[in-house]
């Protein structure tokens, strides 16, 4: 409904222009390149928000367009973060270790350096050896490949098992929740090889760029996130524009009917699930260096539920809706939970937003679902819909489906 040929064609360039304007304005107001009106920490918040918008676009593809309510996509996001985090941590530790050993009278061997790095990284979990999963951590290209490969493979295998046995609807949602919960619990264990509940930290310090202030690095990441969002958006818009978009929306509305047209529905679902898992992984790989730390709590089931809430509030089934939802809710959430929102004194009770924000979010989610299923993005229809109304409605005299059903 929301995605007519007209709006689809127009919304992509409009979105890209808005994004470009945002990047320009933020750059001009940033510390290193402009007036400094935007603090480095807020710049990081904006950069992270763009990454959340990207994963929301992925969520919209898989849920809003294909009708698969995945409540596990933040697991792919977190995995992407872990994959880049491993290299960031390894390489930075290596530089520090190399520096401290450089003064030693006998130059250290490679083996000594590696074991020194290992005891630095794994000291907190009582180990001093590299687990197998770190075997590529020394190489940025390999670890970048894993950012794509690990979430992609997990999505592929999980999706293949689930779709092949025709798990749909609520059962699929529960299964994806189980997946992200299992992954999170596994990572919490110290012997998972990823530092248990400590997670990976210090990720904001980019190896080799220690001479640069955080303000500059943050600006670079902001630009990188904006570029990734733009490319992800264009890719998603391309996917949903043609016959592929028709077929996946058909699967969303009536899966069986699409099968009877001869389309292998499972293959389409698997494709969308895997591609969106990869997009989520890339978004995570850009997010966590800006956040500075990742731990297993990031993969908790609730994170993926939030993702669905953002997309629902923004308006699913339209890509800009997902972006608006993610940006709006996560920024408002930062404002409320960051203690910036003024408390409301009711005399007998004081509403402190840090505690009450989740309830407000829950209530808005329920209200949007009931009163405005099109979400915030639905507001954009009011203008276009009115213009289209002139030519709609069946020809005079012919029966409407409900009347003629019997």
């Amino acid at each position: 409904m929301g995605d007519t040929f007209l709006t689809r064609r127009r919304s992509t360039p409009i979105f890209l222009i808005c994004l470009a304007v945002l990047v320009l304005v933020v750059t001009l107001m940033s510390e290193p390149a402009g007036t400094g009106a935007i603090s480095t920490s807020f710049l990081k918040t904006l950069g992270k928000t763009l990454c959340l918008c990207l994963v929301a676009v992925a969520m919209d593809l898989v849920w809003g367009y294909t009708g698969i309510l995945s409540l596990g996509h933040m697991a792919f996001f977190g995995l992407g973060g872990y994959m880049i985090g491993m290299w960031l941590m390894y390489e930075r530790t290596r530089l520090i270790v190399a520096e401290s050993l450089a003064g030693a009278p006998i130059p250290p061997t490679d083996g000594e350096i590696v074991s020194a790095i290992a005891s630095q990284i794994f000291g907190v979990v009582g180990s001093s050896d590299f687990p197998l999963v770190w075997m590529f951590a020394h190489s940025l290209p390999l670890q970048l490949a894993l950012v794509v490969a690990v979430p992609g493979l997990l999505a592929l295998v999980f999706g293949w098992l689930a779709f092949r046995s025709r798990v749909t609807g609520v059962y699929l949602s529960i299964l994806t929740q189980a997946m992200t919960l299992a992954l999170s619990l596994y990572l919490f264990q110290n012997d998972s090889g990823l530092r248990g509940n400590n997670g990976l930290s210090g990720l904001q310090n980019i190896p080799g760029l220690s001479g640069l202030p955080q303000s500059v690095i943050s600006l670079w990441f902001f630009w990188g996130s904006a570029l990734a969002l733009a490319l992800g958006y264009i890719f998603a818009a391309w996917i949903v524009s043609g016959k592929f978009g028709s077929v996946i929306r058909g699967i969303r509305d009536d899966e069986a009917r699409v099968r009877f047209l001869g389309y292998p529905v499972e293959g389409f679902k698997l494709f969308v699930f895997t591609v969106t898992g990869i997009i989520a992984g890339i978004a995570g790989a850009l997010y966590y260096p800006q956040a500075g730390i990742i731990n297993p709590a990031e993969l908790a089931p609730i994170a993926s539920i939030y993702l669905a809430v953002w997309v629902a509030i923004g308006g699913r089934g339209r890509l800009y809706g997902a972006v608006i939802g993610a940006a709006f809710v996560s920024l408002v959430s930062t404002w409320f939970t960051g203690g910036q929102a003024p408390d409301i004194d009711l005399g007998v009770y004081t509403i402190q937003w840090v505690d009450w924000w989740l309830i407000l979010l829950g209530v808005s989610f329920v209200l949007v679902t009931i009163l405005a299923p099109q979400g915030i993005g639905g507001l954009f229809d009011l203008a276009t819909r009115r213009r289209r109304k002139t030519s709609t409605g069946p020809d005079a005299g012919s029966l409407r489906a409900p009347e003629a059903a019997e």
Partner: protein, 246 residues
């Protein structure tokens, strides 16, 4: 002559209730066939079996010159093998345009990757427009199909069926909700389609069936009660008793 579809000794029961009982049915490559029978006779269930939606408890369903068994194939494989279906309740993709509905049905490779890179050529677009003309929806081609009247949706679904270029069409109650003039047009469409492929039409309206002018199979309680020309079956006392007489 070899048959296109041969259903032999098929039975299905739902929770102990025999919806299809030792049914045998066959149809040739370019034959038009009407199937009639009282409510609950198993007409729709028969189509469910052929299209792979319902797996029978026993019996065989063989397809084509090489006698492939349809029972081992998935719904989409059966559709790709050349079995097209129109549902009793019209099911078109309501939030997509008539054009998009027809384009989706158009006979093309169905895999995700070829669909992803597919962009309609001008021949394809012309073909879709021609089909829309045949089903009387040329003026509605850019409208959302959810905005069509019930009869128009029926036609759109018939158009989607034609677009698939199947070898066998299973058409469940195509005339429901249509005005008499629309019914006549539907008869013409089906008769024309039957010149190039096999068509099975389920219909309750006896005038409609008479106009099709083809062999008629009467189903009752899940098996064939009578088969022959329309005059033959309508004079059969058993058929009058269970179906026409009421």
């Amino acid at each position: 002559m070899t048959q296109l579809l041969e259903v032999d000794g098929v039975s299905v029961s739902f929770d102990g209730f025999k919806a299809i009982n030792n049914l045998s049915f066959s149809i040739g490559p370019a034959e038009l066939r009407a199937v009639i029978g009282p409510n609950g006779a198993g007409k729709t269930t028969f189509m469910d079996i052929v299209t792979g939606k319902t797996k029978p408890d026993s019996g065989s369903v063989l397809w084509g010159a090489r006698n492939r068994s349809l029972l081992k194939m998935s719904e989409s494989q059966i559709a790709r093998a050349g079995v097209g279906r129109k549902f009793q309740r019209p099911t078109v993709f309501e939030d997509q345009s008539v054009f998009a509905n027809l384009l989706m049905a158009l006979k093309k490779t169905r895999g995700p990757f070829s669909v992803l890179f597919y962009r309609p050529s001008s021949e394809d677009a012309d073909k879709v427009r021609e089909l829309a003309g045949q089903i009387g929806l040329a003026a509605q081609i850019d409208r959302l199909s959810g905005e069509l009247s019930h009869g128009q949706k029926q036609w759109l679904e018939i158009g989607m069926l034609l677009a698939q270029e199947p070898r066998l069409m299973l058409v469940d109650e195509p005339a429901a909700g249509m005005t008499p003039a629309e019914r006549e047009h539907t008869t013409d469409l089906l008769k024309r389609a039957a010149s190039s492929c096999a068509v099975v039409v389920v219909e309750h309206d006896m005038d409609f069936v008479r106009r099709l002018g083809c062999r008629v199979t009467v189903l009752h309680e899940g098996s064939v009660l009578a088969e022959g020309s329309i005059d033959h079956v309508t004079s059969d006392p058993q058929v009058i008793d269970v179906y026409l007489g009421r």
